[in-house]
Amino acid sequence: MFWKLRLPLILTLLVGSVPVVTFFLTDRVPGVSFVRDKVEGYMVIIYGFALLLGVVNVIQSSVRKIEQRRSGWPFAVSLLAGLFVMGGFGILSAIRVGPFQGLLANAGGGMTPFSWMTSHMFNPLQAAMFSLLAFYIASAAFRSLRVRNLDGAMLIGAAFIVMLGRTPLGEYAFGWLPGGETWLPRVTDWIMAIPNTAAQRGIIIGAALGAASLSLRVILGIERSYLGAQEK
């Protein structure tokens, strides 16, 4: 009980309180800067371990998937191959073992195996995945964006103005009128600066309050699901 529950809760309380408390104390209070710097320094190291934890988790779940021959298991094989090959070259290049002297470029300025795979495989694959969005948006625009009611009309109207104003098309649309080339860009700026900002502020403040309350629950030990324990 102590090792699995109480100790983690005590550690969470101590470590979670330090950034909050030290933020409100000046460095003139003895020990503040020492404790704050130590905790923040360790946080950088612990983040690295969190990454390692993620890698271990991916390996475990992928191996399980392959062993049980679950649907899509060949993708798990390719994921593990990519992880080990690229990760292996990345680690060797980062710690500079043998011929792998440097992550982005070797000693002679040429590409390392890691940088070659990044430039010729990883980057194009990532870009291709993201660019598929353009095709889905185009299809959705034709088939789903319908003016069914007033709300829909307002949404599509705003989207039209912003899309026009965010390209030179907005300048062409009314450019034949005196001073007309700035009309749509101005309306676009107004939409972004006033209604958009008002909505974004609501979202940002709401999310911040939610994050603060959740953090407080974790620090005070009310929220314990991250320990695998049930809430009490």
Partner: protein, 292 residues
């Protein structure tokens, strides 16, 4: 053709039109005019006021999926700094490809400025995991987070880093961001250390950052490809000798990318209009009483 087929056309036709609308303007330059908006001008003007005594921190907080939007921003800002001999510190906080994005931008721009000296005119500190913790600790000392640069040289040996300890020695932070890392630069670094922040955001995340512009927490913003093209436009106007570079065939720039984006936006608007037109026609036909 039946109305039902027009309402719900073969997706492949739409995909083909978008593919052509993207490829043709990239292959054959249209050259739509570009004019700068106030958030972009604010970033440009801030950097235009700096000189060799200032230091700009450029953070690569994006991955390859948004490189066509964010890399031209990084390149244009780096060129602007090198033109004005402003020292630059480059870092990467984005875990999935941030360091390679930074490396590619530096390599491209450095090839144009052979006189720029590593360690003096610029320092590339590399990638660090755990952006929030690293950002906070950099407020104490950069060397606590990055004891060596990306080429493993101790910071104490680099002339530029001998005059930079923490954020108090930085004139401006520019974050090229696709996600929450941009938020942290504002609500951690600007809020706690009062460093001016400029944002280079993807078009998708730009609307969120307008709230920080209005509150004064960010001095300006380059929003998406349009923002990047506006910065390039200002840069070429201020430094005309860069024009041949930006007009060179085969050299990707945001101004060229804007041609494709403009055509695609026009196509998507056309799709919305046609989709609604066919939808209304079908609705009217359904409402009409049968002729039988």
């Amino acid at each position: 053709m039946k109305l039902e087929r027009l309402i719900s056309p073969d997706r492949r036709i739409l995909y083909l039109l978008i593919a052509l609308g993207t490829a043709i303007p990239i292959l054959v330059r249209i050259g739509f005019p570009v004019s700068a908006t106030p958030p972009v001008e604010a970033v440009f003007d801030a950097i235009a006021q700096f000189d060799a005594d200032d230091v700009v921190l450029l953070s690569f907080d994006y991955g390859p999926n948004v490189a066509p939007e964010c890399s031209p921003m990084g390149e244009a800002i780096l060129r602007h700094c090198f033109e004005r001999r402003i020292p630059v510190i480059l870092i990467a906080f984005f875990p999935v490809g941030g360091i390679t994005m930074a490396g590619e931008v530096i390599e491209r721009v450095l090839s144009e400025y052979p006189a720029v000296r590593p360690g003096e005119d610029y320092v590339f500190l590399g990638y660090k995991d755990g952006a929030q913790a690293a950002m906070k600790q950099m407020g104490v000392a950069f060397a606590n987070v990055f004891p060596v640069d990306n080429d493993r040289r101790p910071l104490a040996e680099l002339p530029l880093m001998q005059r930079v300890t923490n954020y108090s020695d930085i004139s401006l932070v520019v974050t090229l961001t696709t996600n929450v890392i941009g938020d942290w630069w504002i609500n951690l670094v600007n809020a706690q250390f009062k460093v001016p922040i400029a944002i280079g955001a993807t078009a998708v995340s730009a609307p969120k950052f307008y709230a920080f512009l209005d509150s004064g927490q960010a001095i300006g913003m380059l929003g998406g490809l349009k923002g990047a093209s506006e910065y390039e436009h200002l840069l070429v106007a201020a430094y005309p000798h860069l024009r041949p570079l930006y007009e060179r065939p085969g050299f990707y720039t945001a101004m060229k990318g804007m041609d494709a984006q403009t055509v695609d936006h026009a196509l998507i608007m056309l799709f919305i209009v046609l989709g609604n037109l066919f939808y209304l026609l079908a609705k009217r036909r359904k409402a009409r009483p049968s002729a039988v």
